[in-house]
């Protein structure tokens, strides 16, 4: 299918907004937030300026991943309704420019993380970028319906990077945050894939609903929401969040499972659309509550 790019609209060249679009700002916001929470929950004290630099590095690295992903996927982006107006398929930017932009951002984010924070955080950040670009985008995305399951590890790494930025190593609570995002990713993406199956079919991306069918996808989504229960509760059990968070985690996980049950019995798209929306709220609320719990000093297993 590659190489393919729309004829370049040479008259105007890319606008600043096109470079911003390459960074996938909406994806970046959730990545930045989870990275910040990992950093915030880590033990010890980190200077606020250095903490801000760490979060900035995570944000820039996420943007770099977005730009390189858009460079590699420009052929299939042109075929999907959701992505055909991106700068490359729309012909507003030359492919090499997006690749160069992404590589510079990736290198700069890792370098600054190493200089300002520590080598462990920088290495983990490089691993995150490498995993997203080479393992997910290049290797898995077009080959297997397990693409977003395994590739989800890249999206789950930012809290570990944040934790490592603060401590210089990887603690068990950081792994719990990783597991939470890792097992959240399949039901989140498959809810989207259920009502965008036509798009993925056209682009030849083997998402689970296209390969195994909607019924099997819905069954697996339900299983993942059940696996999420202990993952969501783990921060409380490991002592980095209190019982107010723990109680909320149980309620939210029950609601997420209820969404999956509704999707299972809904032959249309409505329940899947609602589940996709709720999945973002679910992850955001869980991470926000961990911070609130810590800020308010609410009682936990160790307090």
């Amino acid at each position: 299918m590659r190489p393919l790019s729309a004829p370049l609209d040479a008259a105007a060249g890319p606008a600043v907004a096109d470079y911003v679009a390459l960074l996938k700002p909406r994806v970046m916001s959730l990545v930045v937030f989870t990275g910040f929470v990992g950093l915030y929950l880590a033990p010890g004290h980190l200077h606020p300026v250095l903490a801000s630099v760490a979060v900035l590095c995570i944000a820039v690295a996420a943007g770099a991943c977005g730009a390189i992903n858009m460079w590699y996927d420009r052929d299939i982006d042109a075929l999907m309704r959701r992505t055909k107006d991106r700068p490359l398929p729309a012909g507003r930017m030359a492919p090499g420019e997006a690749l160069g932009f992404g590589c510079v951002l990736a290198g700069a984010s890792v370098m600054v993380m190493a200089l300002a924070l520590n080598v462990a955080a920088a290495a983990l950040l490089a691993l995150t970028i490498g995993f997203y670009v080479f393992v997910y985008t290049v290797w898995l995305k077009r080959r297997t319906p397990q693409n977003i399951v395994i590739g989800g590890a890249a999206g789950a790494l930012p809290p570990i990077v944040g934790w490592a930025a603060a401590t210089g190593d990887v603690g068990l609570p950081a792994l719990a945050l990783f597991a939470l995002i890792f097992f959240w990713t399949p039901p989140h993406f498959w809810a989207l894939a259920l009502y965008r199956a036509g798009d993925y079919e056209r682009a030849g991306v083997p998402m689970m609903p296209n390969v195994a069918g909607p019924a099997e996808t819905k069954r697996q989504m339900l299983i993942y929401t059940l696996v999420l229960w202990p993952c969501a509760l783990a921060p409380t059990l490991l002592g980095v969040a209190g019982w107010v968070y723990g109680a909320a985690a149980l309620v939210l996980s029950a609601a997420f499972t209820a969404c999956a049950v509704r999707v299972l019995y809904d032959p249309g798209e409505r329940a899947a659309r609602q589940m996709f929306g709720f999945s973002i709220l679910y992850l955001f609320l869980l991470f926000a509550l961990m911070v609130i719990d810590r800020v308010a000093g609410l009682p936990g297993l160790q307090g």
Partner: protein, 42 residues
């Protein structure tokens, strides 16, 4: 290329240049502050 297209091209190039300048200045400030913090100035 028409006159209008040239004007648009110039405008967008100027906007890109300003953006690059802003990023470079921000990087200078960032490294300056990081250095101060690492030296224990705050």
């Amino acid at each position: 290329m028409t006159m209008q297209e040239t004007a648009l091209d110039d405008r967008q190039r100027r906007a890109r240049n300003y953006a690059v300048m802003a990023v470079l200045l921000a990087l200078v400030a960032l490294f300056y502050v990081i250095t101060l913090v690492k030296m224990g100035a705050f």
